[in-house]
């Protein structure tokens, strides 16, 4: 299928230059490579692209599955009984130190803030993940939607045929996941990975474009006859879903990371997580509202330190590259970036050199849209065994994400006449984090 790349046209280049002109200190090579690679691509109108990039707010969640150690990442405690063998290194933010396992990310910390005082009281993988992704406890009666669904619905671009929420995860098959609760299937995530595009997005080989067009024309004529008699919100939604499906089929390349340049592939790293970060960039550039990338596995009950060297090395460069690219493209102001886990890891080092599950005093990093840069909220005590200041939990974080995106977390969705609060009404946003 031909894809209408506009990246080589002079118009596009000019628009891009104009757009990037105001960004200070942009790395030339990066900009050039992104132009060649055709990052912002499938839109025919470059002006639209710029507008969308600037105005449409998005979320990037990087989920370090299994529970990354805060002591080996955002809240190092070198030289204490719990600190482990690694040093803390300075970052691009004066006075902010993170683990030496994240040298590339350290250079990008001026785009991020840290929350070092999370206590979710949740030490179970599934329940911890539920808390962090949905801002509610799993054992509350009822089921609640994922942040991505809440955001996709709140920031819904009704005419956009692309899914609002995508989960990039190894083994993702292009099918819809069950994570939108009452928001319904429209806001459930599509899971991508292994290069598979969304299910059924390819026209069967034995059906030509012309014939597909003809049958759809016939369908539209049939619809017209009924809709002249009665039109409702539901009939419109149904009829539109086919038009959106056709649009989506045209823009199927949005999901195809192999369309990115070899140079970018190398910059991000030729492994799953690198490719997934590059795909995330591509999706965010094309107006997907929420993209979550998972990196696994941090559940280091054994050999915590060796595993963190390996895992974080794989995480560090692609993530830092992605942050830098988002910044270079002027997308940080409109993209909320959150690096989270289901929980942290115990300060106590067990007899297998491991650390265990720990929801009591741990950290996340976040930045971009609506979030102060270079800040640190809360702290843990000297050896990280307890929160010492500004304790927060999943509810506060969830309220903060929504507030940062300009969505009122205390408002309600109307779901078939039922009022559903966007976020747990008992939570409060973390004001000092908000820009």
């Amino acid at each position: 299928m031909e894809c209408g790349y506009a990246c080589k046209s002079p118009d596009h280049t000019i628009a891009r230059r104009g757009f990037l002109g105001h960004i200070a200190g942009g790395v030339g090579a990066t900009v050039a490579s992104s132009l060649v690679g055709g990052g912002i691509s499938a839109f025919a109108e470059p002006a639209v692209t710029a507008q969308l990039t600037k105005q449409h707010k998005r979320v990037l969640v990087v989920f370090l599955a299994g529970g990354v150690s805060q002591l080996e990442s955002w809240d190092p405690k070198p030289g204490t009984d719990t600190g482990g063998p690694f040093r803390a290194i300075p970052t691009s933010v004066k006075g902010m130190h993170i683990s030496e396992l994240l040298p590339h990310t350290a250079k990008q910390m001026h785009h991020l803030s840290l929350v070092r005082s999370i206590n979710t009281r949740e030490n179970n993988h599934a329940q911890g993940r539920y808390c962090m992704e949905r801002g509610r406890r799993q054992n509350d009666p009822g089921d609640y939607p994922h942040l991505g669904g809440v955001v996709a619905k709140s920031l819904d671009q009704k005419e956009n045929p692309l899914p609002g929420h995508i989960q990039i995860t190894p083994g993702g098959k292009g099918s819809r996941r069950n994570d939108a609760a009452y928001l319904g299937p429209k806001f459930a995530s599509i899971s991508l990975g292994d290069g598979k595009p969304p299910s059924y997005s390819k026209r069967p080989d034995d059906l030509s474009a012309a014939r597909d067009q003809q049958r759809n024309d016939f369908r539209r004529r049939a619809n017209e006859r009924l809709l002249q008699r009665r039109r409702t919100a539901f009939t419109d939604l149904y009829a539109q879903s086919y038009e959106q499906a056709r649009e989506m089929m045209k823009r199927r390349d949005v999901f195809d990371v192999s369309k990115e340049s070899d140079k970018d592939v190398k910059r991000y790293g030729e492994h799953d997580f690198g490719r997934h970060c590059l795909l995330a960039r591509r999706l965010l550039e094309n107006g997907i509202t929420c993209v979550q990338v998972s990196h696994t596995n941090y559940d280091t009950h054994h050999e915590n330190f060796n595993f963190h060297i390996e895992q974080l090395e794989e995480f560090d460069r692609p993530f830092a590259t992605l942050l830098d690219d988002l910044h270079q493209r002027g997308m940080m102001e409109s993209t909320l970036v959150v690096v989270m886990s289901e929980f942290g890891r115990t300060p106590r080092i067990n007899d297998r050199y491991g650390r265990d599950h720990w929801g009591t005093a741990w950290s996340i990093a976040l930045g971009g849209c609506g979030i102060q840069s270079g800040g640190i909220v809360g702290k843990t005590n000297k050896n990280g065994t307890a929160v010492a200041d500004r304790e927060v939990d999943h509810r506060h974080l969830f309220h903060t994400y929504l507030s940062a995106l300009g969505v009122d977390p205390t408002s309600n969705f109307d779901i078939g006449g039922r009022k559903m609060p966007l976020a747990d009404p008992s939570g409060l946003r973390i004001k000092e984090l908000l820009a």
Binding site: G142, D143, N178, Y182, P185, S199, F218, A222
Partner: protein
């Protein structure tokens, strides 16, 4: 609509969890069977000889003020009616053949006959099992009770036309331990017996009241959803827990003890809750001695069963069928099933400020449903025969201008009434606030005395307990003294005798014996003295502790007295609150009904305007308003199951199986009969041949259902709301459209072979006849001339590509709005 924000200012200060205190969690199980037949408790309610469907239409007409406009709206043609009743009662569109037979039928009563025929069919039981499965389980995972077993229970119930209250009581009384009724326990078990989930779902599904927002405090927006109502329901299930036996089979156990206390996060006032259904009285519990609390006592690895099961009481209460909310809920849900929208909408938001669009219709049907012993078939039949059910879905002829004048006058009147009603609601709202404040004060005033009384009771019990051993040791000492005294008396007597003997004979052995006895006597005397000293000390201790007990008793009496006083105040405040709330509810409802009337008249007015003049947008909105008020019909989206079955019906998949299955089942029956014959003849070579069991229509439907279950599931997964969510919301998504556009599923159903639709169409060379077959098969109607031309042009433009062109046209109709909705 007016919305009152109560307590909104404190909403942001809610603590982490809700202050639910369940004093203890108790395990038990209920072995006693329910004595709750359908006839047991239904009050004799007058029936009217006029058929219910006529009375429903009459009552509806009254609420339209007999407007000529609504009277002029006719009923749909036979084809549309047939498609509706098939979808609603059999879960699928009919075949072209069935359509043609119905159209050809001359009987004036043929619609009623068709409804009866469908209600009697095996498809009805299969379809209603789907409807009730979705309603009761909301597509939850079938972790403990598998869907097939649960569905089989429902199919059996609908095949036997089991009364609704019996189904509900069977479902809510099952504990999963009894094999015979295990599948019924799906409602509890597949919700993991989770107390809050069960409370919410019992409230929503059986009473139409979503009390979730009243878990932590009185509902902030809905005045008559009280936290107490939530915890009264909670008290039925909070002693229940999951029990896993040695074979890892999970069932329910229950405890005999444990009370529910709850605290409002807004007012911090605490209350106790006893089991009660919405609008009902608290269940009276027998007070049993500790030894008689259980049929099976709680112990490790044992499923405890209380003598009195609170959970069973819920089933017993509902089996009675006397509760109004219980009746209205199911009638409203069945109405929503038939009409696409409940009289109360959403169906789980029945409360004073959200009354039915036609309250009298709901009341009428609820009464009749109870009087007819909760006969679901009978109610569905009457609904299907109403004119309301048979109304068109579109606006038709504009009304006479005279009507508009009348409507404007009516509107004026209602708006005047509205003003008065609003004032009344504001006034009653203030009274409610006062009563609420008093109740909170009374609850708080009662809290300290209740705690004090509890403390005093504990102290008294402690003193009484302490007195027991003191009294006991004192008694022991007294007994010891008595024994020693008796011993001393006998020793003294012996010494006397020895002295006598010694006087008679100066024998040294006697003297030695005397010396021995003397020393024993001295020893006993000493012991006695010691014991007496001990006793007098113990007697003092006894006196002291008795004084303490007496003093604690009088303190407890005083505390109890003061608690009783505050508790009486609390009860008084509670009953004041109840009556204030009742009057507030009445006012709120009256206001909401008047507001509905305004909506309705405005919609009718919009319709009365010259339709040429009105913008399409206005007409759409007016049509929506009119269908919300049951004046015209909703365009109702098909459920995932209806959609799957209808597509397979339209494309010929269902009929192909209907042709092959009887043969297949007959072969199976013959083969198993032959095997049985062979087995019998091994024992006795002259044994008679086993006769194959004849295949029944129910068996065929069952087998058909099993064959198509996989395809139906694909649709359910793609088109339904998420598991555990209300399933009455509509979603149209890109991935659904992609599935229909590009998947091989639909393509395979459009194969040009096997007597499938495309096969039939391909054999018909006359375009008009072919188009007729296509539209009858897919859209259950005949095509218009314009449509025949459209098809003919399409076919002509494709020349030799005949089969492919047919597939494309059939695809277009299957994916059209008309197919997706019940029109």
């Amino acid at each position: 609509m007016i919305r009152f924000q109560r307590n909104a200012h404190v909403a942001s200060h809610m603590p982490f969890g809700c202050a639910t205190i369940c004093d203890a969690f108790c395990f038990s199980l209920c072995l006693f069977a329910l004595a709750c037949g359908p006839n047991a408790a239904i009050g004799a309610e007058a029936t009217n000889s006029t058929p219910l469907h006529v009375r429903i239409d009459r009552t509806l007409a009254q609420s339209f003020n007999e407007s000529s406009q609504t009277n002029n709206i006719g009923v749909v043609d036979d084809a549309t009616f047939l498609r509706r009743v098939w979808l609603d009662l059999a879960g699928s569109i009919p075949s072209a053949k069935q359509l043609r037979a119905f159209l050809a039928e001359k009987d004036a009563n043929k619609r009623a006959k068709k409804v009866d025929e469908l209600l009697a069919s095996d498809r009805f039981a299969q379809h209603m099992a789907n409807v009730f499965d979705v309603m009761l389980m909301e597509r939850r995972a079938d972790k403990h009770v598998k869907r097939n077993a649960w569905r089989a229970y429902l199919v059996d119930g609908f095949a036997k036309n089991k009364p609704y209250n019996v189904i509900v009581s069977e479902v809510l009384s099952a504990d999963g331990a009894d094999i015979a009724s295990r599948s019924q326990a799906a409602f509890y078990l597949n919700r993991e017996g989770e107390h809050h989930q069960l409370t919410r779902d019992v409230g929503r599904i059986f009473f139409g009241r979503d009390l979730q927002c009243a878990q932590c405090h009185d509902h902030p927006d809905i005045d008559d959803m009280r936290q107490s109502e939530y915890f009264n329901l909670f008290a039925f299930v909070h002693r229940t827990a999951l029990f896993t036996d040695k074979k890892k089979v999970v069932s329910l156990s229950e405890k005999a003890e444990g009370e529910v206390k709850f605290t409002s996060v807004f007012t911090k006032a605490s209350f106790e809750a006893k089991p009660a259904i919405p609008g009902g009285k608290a269940i009276t519990e027998p007070s049993l001695e500790a030894a008689k609390l259980y049929k099976v006592k709680p112990a490790k690895g044992v499923r405890s069963v209380p003598t009195f099961s609170r959970r069973q009481q819920l089933a017993i209460e509902l089996a009675k069928g006397t509760n109004l909310a219980f009746r209205k809920n199911i009638v409203n849900r069945l109405w929503a099933h038939m009409m696409g929208r409940g009289l109360v909408h959403p169906v789980d938001m029945m409360h004073a400020a959200n009354p039915a669009s036609h309250p009298k219709v709901l009341t009428l049907m609820s009464k009749e449903f109870a009087a007819n012993e909760f006969n679901i078939k009978k109610l569905l039949r009457e609904m299907a025969l109403t004119k309301a059910y048979q109304r068109p879905f579109e606006l038709s002829a504009p009304a006479a201008p005279a009507d508009a004048t009348l409507l404007r006058e009516q509107l004026k009147d209602v708006k005047v009434k509205l003003g008065t009603l609003k004032k009344q609601v504001f006034a009653s709202f203030d009274r409610l606030d006062d009563a609420d404040a008093k109740l909170v004060d009374a609850a708080k005033a009662a809290a300290a005395p209740r705690d004090a009384m509890g403390q005093r009771q504990k102290s008294l019990a402690a003193a009484q307990n302490a007195a027991v051993p003191i009294e006991k040791t004192h008694q022991t000492t007294v007994k010891q003294i008595e024994e020693k005294a008796r011993l001393k008396a006998s020793v003294d007597a012996a010494i006397g005798e020895i002295q006598l003997a010694a006087a008679k004979a100066d024998d040294p052995t006697v003297m030695a014996a005397k010396a021995l006895f003397d020393s024993k006597a001295a020893e006993i005397s000493t012991e006695l003295k010691t014991l007496q000293a001990v006793r007098s000390k113990q007697a003092a201790a006894v006196l002291a502790i008795n004084a303490k007990v007496a003093s604690e008793k009088s303190k407890f009496d005083a505390a109890q007295k003061s608690f009783n006083a505050t508790n009486n105040m609390l009860r008084h405040s509670q009953s004041e609150m109840d009556s204030t709330l009742a009057s507030h509810q009445a006012h709120t409802t009256a206001l909401a009904i008047a507001e509905r009337e305004v909506d309705r008249i405005e919609a009718l007015l919009a319709m009365a305007r010259d339709t040429n003049d009105a913008s399409p947008l206005l007409a759409d909105a007016a049509a929506d308003a009119l269908s919300d008020h049951t004046i015209i019909r909703n365009l109702k989206p098909l459920t995932p199951e209806q959609l799957a079955w209808s597509m397979m019906q339209a494309t010929g998949v269902v009929d192909a199986y209907r042709r092959s299955l009887p043969i297949e089942l007959k072969k199976q029956a013959e083969s198993s009969a032959a095997k049985a014959t062979a087995a019998a003849r091994k024992k006795d070579k002259d044994a008679p041949a086993v006769v194959p069991i004849p295949v029944t229509p129910a068996q065929i439907d069952q087998a058909l259902n099993a064959k198509l279950a996989g395809s139906v599931k694909v649709f359910a997964d793609l088109f339904s709301a998420a598991a555990g969510q209300p399933q009455d919301t509509f979603f149209a998504t890109v991935d659904q459209a992609l599935f229909f556009s590009n998947s091989s599923t639909l393509k395979s159903w459009l194969a040009p072979s096997g007597g499938y639709l495309i096969d039939r169409l391909n054999k018909e060379k006359d375009v008009a006849k072919m188009t007729n077959e296509l539209y009858q098969s897919v859209l259950t109607r005949e095509p218009t001339q314009e449509e025949i031309k459209d098809v003919a042009d399409y076919m002509a433009s494709r020349g030799k590509d005949r089969v492919v062109a047919l597939q494309e046209i059939a695809w277009a109709l299957l994916t059209s709005v008309e197919f997706r909705f019940c029109r």
